[in-house]
Symmetry: C2
Subunit: 473 residues, 2 copies
Amino acid sequence: MPLLGLLPRRAWASLLSQLLRPPCASCTGAVRCQSQVAEAVLTSQLKAHQEKPNFIIKTPKGTRDLSPQHMVVREKILDLVISCFKRHGAKGMDTPAFELKETLTEKYGEDSGLMYDLKDQGGELLSLRYDLTVPFARYLAMNKVKKMKRYHVGKVWRRESPTIVQGRYREFCQCDFDIAGQFDPMIPDAECLKIMCEILSGLQLGDFLIKMAWKDVRHEMVVKKGLAPEVADRIGDYVQCHGGVSLVEQMFQDPRLSQNKQALEGLGDLKLLFEYLTLFGIADKISFDLSLARGLDYYTGVIYEAVLLQTPTQAGEEPLNVGSVAAGGRYDGLVGMFDPKGHKVPCVGLSIGVERIFYIVEQRMKTKGEKVRTTETQVFVATPQKNFLQERLKLIAELWDSGIKAEMLYKNNPKLLTQLHYCESTGIPLVVIIGEQELKEGVIKIRSVASREEVAIKRENFVAEIQKRLSES
Amino acid sequence: MPLLGLLPRRAWASLLSQLLRPPCASCTGAVRCQSQVAEAVLTSQLKAHQEKPNFIIKTPKGTRDLSPQHMVVREKILDLVISCFKRHGAKGMDTPAFELKETLTEKYGEDSGLMYDLKDQGGELLSLRYDLTVPFARYLAMNKVKKMKRYHVGKVWRRESPTIVQGRYREFCQCDFDIAGQFDPMIPDAECLKIMCEILSGLQLGDFLIKMAWKDVRHEMVVKKGLAPEVADRIGDYVQCHGGVSLVEQMFQDPRLSQNKQALEGLGDLKLLFEYLTLFGIADKISFDLSLARGLDYYTGVIYEAVLLQTPTQAGEEPLNVGSVAAGGRYDGLVGMFDPKGHKVPCVGLSIGVERIFYIVEQRMKTKGEKVRTTETQVFVATPQKNFLQERLKLIAELWDSGIKAEMLYKNNPKLLTQLHYCESTGIPLVVIIGEQELKEGVIKIRSVASREEVAIKRENFVAEIQKRLSES
């Protein structure tokens, strides 16, 4: 163990004899030492004075800290979102917070001015990532990956004018699921819509609807399928009047439309999509929106957006204007922009607007006066008497070593009432108590905070008893 | 539902009649349309040419993408670390990726030049966070929090010369646990050391030792407790020769030392700490290191660092030079630097060197040829015949809706062999098979990929049967 600098036995003996010399040296040392102390105190006082900040203590504009309360809500929502992504066979991945600036340039259209650039510190020119889609496309091209189903949860940054009151920040979390690869038409697209539905249902935010941008559907029909613009526009009129699946069914049942070969071809992909959505049991959740238009430059096909259908109407809840809570679409051209030979990898994906969802859930909890526990502590170690720190430390170590979440107060002699108050205010359900009597009798008292019932359990059985109680609750 | 733009019935009838006009308009439209298609194709070809990147596709210097393989290893390790933090009653929190530059200035000593600054884009001057400790102190001061036990897992950024071969990057993850507040001496400090031990034991990285910086211990004794420097240096000699607890015991058993009042006082905190560490059962894990010195400027007390004691010696494993895998210490002055009145909040904490731990675990898996599954898919939906896409979609939706992780190929008519190969290569344990015969008999075949055994289960029972099998495995 050379790391410990162990000396051979002889050297050790010689050092020990030095250490145990007569104390005169340490006397003179003490004087010097006291002046050192005075000096140190003075220095630290001066320093404390100098250290007073002459600037405002804040987080940067448009950003905020996430408190333990925020984190608890986030963790639950992200768990549900990630579980859904995994249920659909997605792999996790991550990319750096910043990219070469040129990787991001020209991918976001007029939004490009909202990127955070890093200072030129004598290296590459860098920008903070603006979304998770462009880094994913860069990853696919860089590693020549032709096929991948992945999710990515991470922060992105946009220098937008923050309207903080609505839960929009310059730093925010995105949760993306994407399917890259050449597949038979509309199967991955339908899965993306299914995922949106599963997540929005799972989160129990109320009724929702996924709206497809009619402008994009029309563009697909006219430019890609060769449908006459006039016919497309008439389908558009049709579409305005009917939500999703019924539209497609009626059109195909209508002999005059179903005998128009071009209309049929133009409607082919849409028909296929709604067929799959029907098999997935979500066709009634999909509708068209004439006003919806592509957001970011890289989308190539139909985009879709999920909206909550009604503002909460429970007593006391304020109406929430939250806008879109999920969005997605095809971006078949993006990967090709990074490939030296322009090879394309078709992609379709979705992004869950988790920040807005966090905001909605937090607002609801606030209105209902719901409290969240910010810790998961199961057991508190308490004592009613003085001088029981050692026993408490032994007990708590046993709990920790058994995987039980446990806390105690960092005081030598805390009052019992203070300890019990701590449990009540932080929601700890069980207390183990050790005092003079318990020590004498070889027992530990287990107390339920809710019922205030106490039972004495043999010292050697108390961990097992706690584990039993925790597994039952 | 105003969002859907539903028209009254009469308007709908009028639109329908327009839509169903004679087809002449659509004929002329078709011509225009075909030229539009040609134009679109041309544009897209030209665009594809223009879009060829004239720059290198890479991640910024010192950074990298985390592949699904990396992510799986990380997730397991972070789960263990976070579980331990929660077991000790810590709350989660997060801070923005960047801070006002002046928040970070003068906190890191000579390392300050390694901060990433953001470009001045007409707002505040910002820098990426360099660690999680300074943002935590800023948070405490800003919110006037006097007491808090929190953990924080997040990325930090340092413009160090990257030595990537050893697993050091400019962007890396930190896992911090800290206790802020005025408490009785050495109780929170002992808990921090206990946490380090629990995590390093839990990760099964082999034997480890936590080394306390002797220079800091000496400084505490001389400057704060007034021990003569000579006596401190002799204790230092003593310390060099003995690991942790035995040192303290021997010193206090030694009548000539234990009768030196100043030595006793100087050793008081150390004695207390080792007493608690003994109760926690970890005193033998702690030792002193003469060469260790404070890293960052803000540490005020004894710092400690955990090192793995031996490089792996299993056959075929290359020796790993990984250095410190965890570190921590007291920083009683940092919060006061942010408080307008200089009010201090004593803090003690630790940081787990998860990047090095990721690296060690990944290297070991590589050497052992261990494969990781990058998805968690439990069931694959397959068919041996053509034209079974609809049935597969119905089945997979049932599985998803029952919370089962399921995948299928995005092809209309995939070959059975391709489907089974996919299961074997990605480690999916179960296959459900639907074909002509199954459809006729109203059953689903369930196949175990490992044993290749197949059983037919009634269609209505197949989800329950799968859930049963998954809960057993």
